[in-house]
């Protein structure tokens, strides 16, 4: 057995999470913000699978949580892209700063 343990996976997923957070905070384009959200969701999936493998190998709960997260992320991406395309038709721009029609 190799010497890669649970904490290696947790550190990789933490790095991925904060890279996603950085992208979400700095990007101004809605599609790239959506890509950052996908990175964050993927880091959570790595955590679920690593905990399932290293701590609870007699259960399958991490596997199921990952499957449902992937399904919900797919639905979320589809709805978000539909909203972005609709917004682009009205504003001719997909920058987050231009979507201000609900501002008081």
């Amino acid at each position: 057995m190799s010497d890669i343990g649970l904490s290696h996976f947790l550190i990789v997923s933490t790095m991925l999470f904060f890279i996603g957070v950085y992208g979400f905070l700095t990007r101004r384009n809605m599609i790239t913000m959506l890509m950052s959200i996908e990175l964050i969701l993927n880091s959570c999936n790595i955590n679920f699978i690593a905990f399932n493998k290293y701590l609870f190998p007699e259960k399958l709960d991490g596997t199921f949580f990952t499957l449902f997260t992937i399904a919900i992320a797919a639905a979320e991406a589809a709805v978000a892209i539909a909203i972005i395309i609709n917004l682009y038709r009205q504003r001719k721009s997909i920058d987050a700063e231009d979507a201000d029609s609900m501002r008081m």
């Binding site: 010497d3 890669i4 649970l6 290696h8 996976f9 947790l10 990789v12 933490t14 790095m15 991925l16 904060f18 890279i19 996603g20 957070v21 950085y22 992208g23 905070l25 700095t26 101004r28 384009n29 599609i31 790239t32 959506l34 890509m35 996908e38 990175l39 993927n42 999936n45 790595i46 699978i49 690593a50 493998k53 290293y54 701590l55 609870f56 190998p57 007699e58 259960k59 399958l60 709960d61 596997t63 199921f64 990952t66 499957l67 449902f68 992937i70 399904a71 919900i72 797919a74 639905a75 979320e76 991406a77 589809a78 892209i81 539909a82 909203i83 972005i84 395309i85 038709r89 997909i94």
Partner: protein, 171 residues
């Protein structure tokens, strides 16, 4: 250092390098392609942990579905060329500092936490086991979430069509 250790580090480097390039690249299309590499690296990490079914689902749904959807939406909205607007300098500085601080905090917690494994026999993760448990109605079954997710996907599909459809203005 065994071969599997080296493979783990290569996969982690692909994942993290792709992710960093995906959030910093100035061209949006390249950013989507770097995201593709990052997601393939994550699928490789699942393969490394011998969760083959999850890795296959990752490749099919993320690499085959979501990234293709993102690329299509880039073509529909922006085209492939042209740089995006640069991020605001002050904002990226403080976002970087906040992420670094958050990473250090989580790293500290991970190093301090004693993770106690339950030393029981592994149930295995063949597709047969996953399928039987997912559709069982016993204590550890996941039939109800399965049905709820199918309803959610149906609702999301109808919602996408309603939102993105071109409204014809008849006068």
């Amino acid at each position: 250092m065994s071969a599997s250790t080296i493979i783990f580090y290569i996969l982690a480097a692909i994942t993290l390098g792709g992710a960093i390039l995906a959030v910093t690249s100035p061209k949006i299309f390249r950013s989507a392609i770097y995201l593709l590499f990052s997601l393939i690296g994550i699928a490789g990490l699942y393969f490394w942990m011998s969760y083959e079914f999850i890795a296959a689902v990752q490749v099919v749904v993320y690499v085959g579905g979501i990234v293709v959807l993102i690329i299509f939406s880039i073509f529909l909205t922006q085209g492939s060329g042209g740089d995006m607007k640069d991020p605001i300098k002050v904002r990226s500085l403080f976002a970087g500092l906040a992420c670094l601080a958050g990473y250090c905090l989580v790293y500290y917690v991970i190093q301090r936490t004693p993770f106690v494994a339950s030393f029981q026999q592994s149930i295995g993760n063949e597709v047969k086991t996953i399928g039987e448990q997912m559709l069982s109605t016993t204590e550890h079954g996941y039939l109800l979430p399965f049905e709820v997710v199918s309803m959610l996907l149906l609702a999301a599909m109808i919602g996408c069509i309603v939102i993105a459809i071109k409204t014809r203005t008849t006068k």
